[in-house]
Symmetry: C2
Subunit: 226 residues, 2 copies
């Protein structure tokens, strides 16, 4: 074997990785309280662009942690992100992870409306939200109903539909993790989420992101909880 391996115990690999990331970030200023999220995105991609492109709305980390603690569930737009999110940890607080992308009713609705399955799956999430948040005997939302966190790693069309649902008053997410990746309307859809002043958000500005980034931001939040 010509190659020299660094001797690191299995349990120490992640710690050592974060040390290297911290070293290489050097003097780079990160928004206080968001460091673990930024570093985990770099850890999951080996891409230091995430030190520059992540945008956090005011107090979003505290709000997100509070939402998870209150039992918020996560809706995502890919089975990959669902697979990557630490579902056991989330379940400790009562939440679960939903992905409606493979559901038959979603495929049907998308076909009928000439939209994407990702957009249709946001409509399905909004229906679930209405059903869980409304007490049929009263007007408006029940204040004690656990909310929804959206972790969008693939489809800008999901973000566009979320924006519309929020503008129409049909949905008020606890948090939008807006990190789709790609080339068609990805940049624009993220800017739309940044316009929503009353919706906490974590956005990877620009083209980059992905299911791995969506899952890793969820996990970073979960691992920050004591």
């Amino acid at each position: 074997m010509k190659t020299e391996l660094e001797q690191v115990l299995p349990a120490e690999i992640e710690k050592r990785s974060f040390e290297i990331i911290t070293e290489e970030l050097g003097e780079k200023k990160l928004l206080p309280g968001t460091e673990l999220i930024v570093k985990r995105c770099i850890h999951t991609s080996a891409d230091f662009d995430y030190a520059d492109n992540l945008v956090f709305s005011d107090g979003v980390v505290e709000k997100a942690v509070q939402a998870i603690r209150s039992g918020a569930s996560i809706v995502t737009d890919t089975q990959m992100a669902k697979a990557g999110i630490n579902k056991k940890k989330l379940a400790e607080y009562g939440g679960q992870v939903y992905c409606f992308m493979s559901d038959e009713d979603v495929a049907e609705a998308a076909g009928k409306n000439g939209t994407t399955r990702a957009a249709a799956s946001m409509d399905k999430a909004a229906e679930m939200y209405r059903a869980s948040a409304h007490d049929p005997s009263e007007e408006g939302m029940r204040k004690d109903s656990p909310g929804l966190i959206f972790a969008i790693g693939n489809a800008p069309t999901a973000l566009v539909r979320l924006y519309e649902l929020i503008q129409e008053g049909k949905l008020q997410p606890e948090l939008i993790i807006a990190v789709p990746v790609g080339f068609v309307n990805v940049v624009q859809s993220k800017e739309m989420i940044l316009e929503l002043k009353d919706t906490p958000s974590i956005v990877a500005r620009g083209r980059k992101g992905g299911s791995n980034i969506a899952a890793c931001i969820c996990n970073a939040l979960l691992y920050m909880m004591k």
Copy 2:
């Protein structure tokens, strides 16, 4: 809405994305026959580094396609990659996707041997290979047994163990997709795979890669098949 969206039909989004990638690659020379793999990696990450860091062993695309056609299965080191691989398409040729990372016997073996679960899961794959490839009445491998493709998107320790198993003659993969991401032994483990002259490989040289890249290379190969 201040943001201007590009009008693209749902069914056209991927095609338009690949057009943009092709435009931006410009005069960049890609190895003939590998273009769709490189472009899909860029599509899944918005990271043009994949135009430079992917290394293909001689004739690997033809060999990989042939292996899939013969019914090869895929072993991966993350549930995320397993979730992302087009299992329906693979099943058309008889293969399936395995990930042993959450298996109890793997966790036990890793604990006992002081190794990672990723390394222990490669041992489990090698056992499966031996059991399926050997005819107990004969010496050596059965030539008609469908082989294994390894898609490693996370753990360099999986690659190191694969290297050892191959050197010990316990495993001969049809293909290794060596694209773990990270900072500890990632670069080195990929160089080890590049040393294996008789093992077809697709390697993302350097730190970059990930479960998304592992899945996307598998899918690129599947989508190239007619």
